[in-house]
Symmetry: C2
Subunit: 324 residues, 2 copies
């Protein structure tokens, strides 16, 4: 060793209050100075092997759907003594490059609200950097996920709907590549089938208000009488409501009942009063950070899925059952 002392002694020198002789301290400090090595957060990380940095991967669409998530994740990470290193990916961004760059900063762990490809995840394994996906399902055993139980949410919604006449039922999904949309639609299809309610083939849109608005005419065509539209998220549902009222002259819920998923703030505005499913976003953020910290500390193993229960919010956009 250059400073003539062991690694653990070097470590003690940079830890406040740790026992170390004056001579040893001087030796180590001289060695450190030679490499511009000061006891700051980054330099200290070379000894403790922890930087306190948590890489958080976000995408444009995920940020739009849950604007508060990043804030909640940040608060939880800070309460655990860490800091967020954020990487913003374009929707179709190549994730391996971003992962390589995050790893170069020696993060302690990664949280991603984007879908990481297998190559990205496999890169994290030898680096001993655990990965937790936020509300994204995966079949890769080297990642863990925390999410909302999408199937259970749709089950609650369909049970509520089935208590009143539904008319023709149609389903408006998100983009075909979106796994959360797929989970929600699978849940809806399963619950509708169990209740013996028929439905039209699933249509896809892009998760946006504008996409919902533009899909409405096609969604409702070819049927007379009352209808019900189940949407994979709130933004599209609000677009469907506005298209019904301002473009097609239809009343909600008398002519068309509409439901969403997420419970974004606008769902509760008087103009909409959308019946929807509330994802426990704050609790999900807390559980995500807790799971990552357990993986970093080695008290949990990867490959786990934690699903939190969502809640039904019945408002004015759906029809009330005979008892209601």
């Amino acid at each position: 060793m250059l400073s003539g002392v062991s690694q653990s002694t070097v470590s003690r020198v940079f830890r406040e209050g740790a026992p170390v002789s004056k001579t040893t301290r001087k030796k180590v400090e001289a060695a450190a100075a030679a490499l511009n090595y000061s006891p700051n957060q980054i330099a200290r990380s070379l000894i403790t092997q922890r930087t306190g940095l948590i890489g958080v991967v976000i995408t444009d669409p995920s940020n739009r759907a849950y604007p508060d998530v990043l804030f909640y994740l940040g608060q939880e990470i800070q309460e655990s003594g860490g800091r967020m290193l954020v990487v913003a990916l374009p929707r179709d961004g190549e994730t391996a490059g971003a992962t390589r760059e995050i790893l170069a900063y020696h993060v302690d762990g990664i949280i991603s609200s984007a879908i990481l490809d297998d190559a990205s995840i496999e890169m994290c394994v030898p680096a001993h950097v655990p990965v937790v996906l936020f509300n994204r399902s995966t079949s890769n055993a080297n990642t863990s996920t925390v999410g909302c139980d999408q199937h259970a949410g749709m089950e609650l919604l369909v049970q509520h709907m089935a208590a009143a006449p539904t008319g023709r039922v149609s389903l408006l999904a998100g983009p075909e590549w979106a796994p959360v949309s797929k989970d929600r639609m699978q849940g809806a299809v399963y619950a509708l089938t169990r209740c013996g309610i028929e439905f039209a083939p699933v249509m896809h849109s892009d998760y946006t208000f504008e996409g919902g608005r533009q899909s409405t005419r096609a969604l409702l065509s070819g049927a007379d009488g009352p209808q019900t539209v189940i949407c994979a998220n709130d933004a599209m549902a609000l677009g469907v409501m506005d298209a019904c009222r301002f473009e097609l002259g239809l009343r909600v819920p008398e002519d068309v009942a509409v439901t969403g998923f997420d419970d974004i703030p606008q769902a509760d505005w008087p103009s909409y009063r959308l019946t929807t499913i509330r994802q426990p976003v704050r609790r999900m953020a807390k559980a995500t950070v807790r799971m990552l910290m357990e993986l970093i500390e080695g008290t949990a193993s990867s490959g786990e899925r934690r699903l939190l229960m969502p809640e039904l919010r019945v408002r004015a956009s759906s029809r009330e059952g005979p008892a209601g």
Copy 2:
């Protein structure tokens, strides 16, 4: 020197392709290994004095108002070769502690959408870490700001309003502590005065939809006939519109004309069609990162304010003038 070579030689060893003899490389690598020093992003930063990390301070309210800002800032920072280290502050968070922690990570610069107190800013000066505030005005010469010209925006809005009868004009400001709200209200008051339009005393709310909704009755009381409400942001304006229509049975814009500021996506929804001022958020994010990079490279000096011009968006919530 422990490795028996100079600092610049150490530097060359860790820079790919730099000329350095085999013997020297071995010496330095041995010295580096002794301190667990590997040529990764963090270790490299000890030599280049740059980490590529940009500290970004966000607050709950700023994140709500501009959910896309963080994403845009992230993209711009990444295009400049850096990464965002995000710190989420609670609204009344003490900023000095957060600043100290950011500085411990040896960031190259700081962008803040929160108001940093003077103590925080003075801490950054000896560390040679430039600070750029995003859409926050300051009188501290050690910070620079990029923002939207709030006064000019209100000027455009009042000119548009003045072309049609306004009735009684009232002003709904954001929280008293919010400098952007103050800038906007000052702009409105100045423009109204110049146009010779009288207005009721300014009322304050909390920048939220719910706050706008709850302020509406008080805002409109004590006057008969048509009225106009100028709001300091869109969220409150949308709340005022819904309160008028769903609680007070008033028509927008016939009975009450309503205007906002920001041009959030909901402002353009068919249920609202809010007349508002569009902040050029994406261009503001680009200008903020560019300014910070110039400060880091030493090609700009601090204390500069760059204000970008907003645009008027006339929609259905305001009255049309005789020519319109």
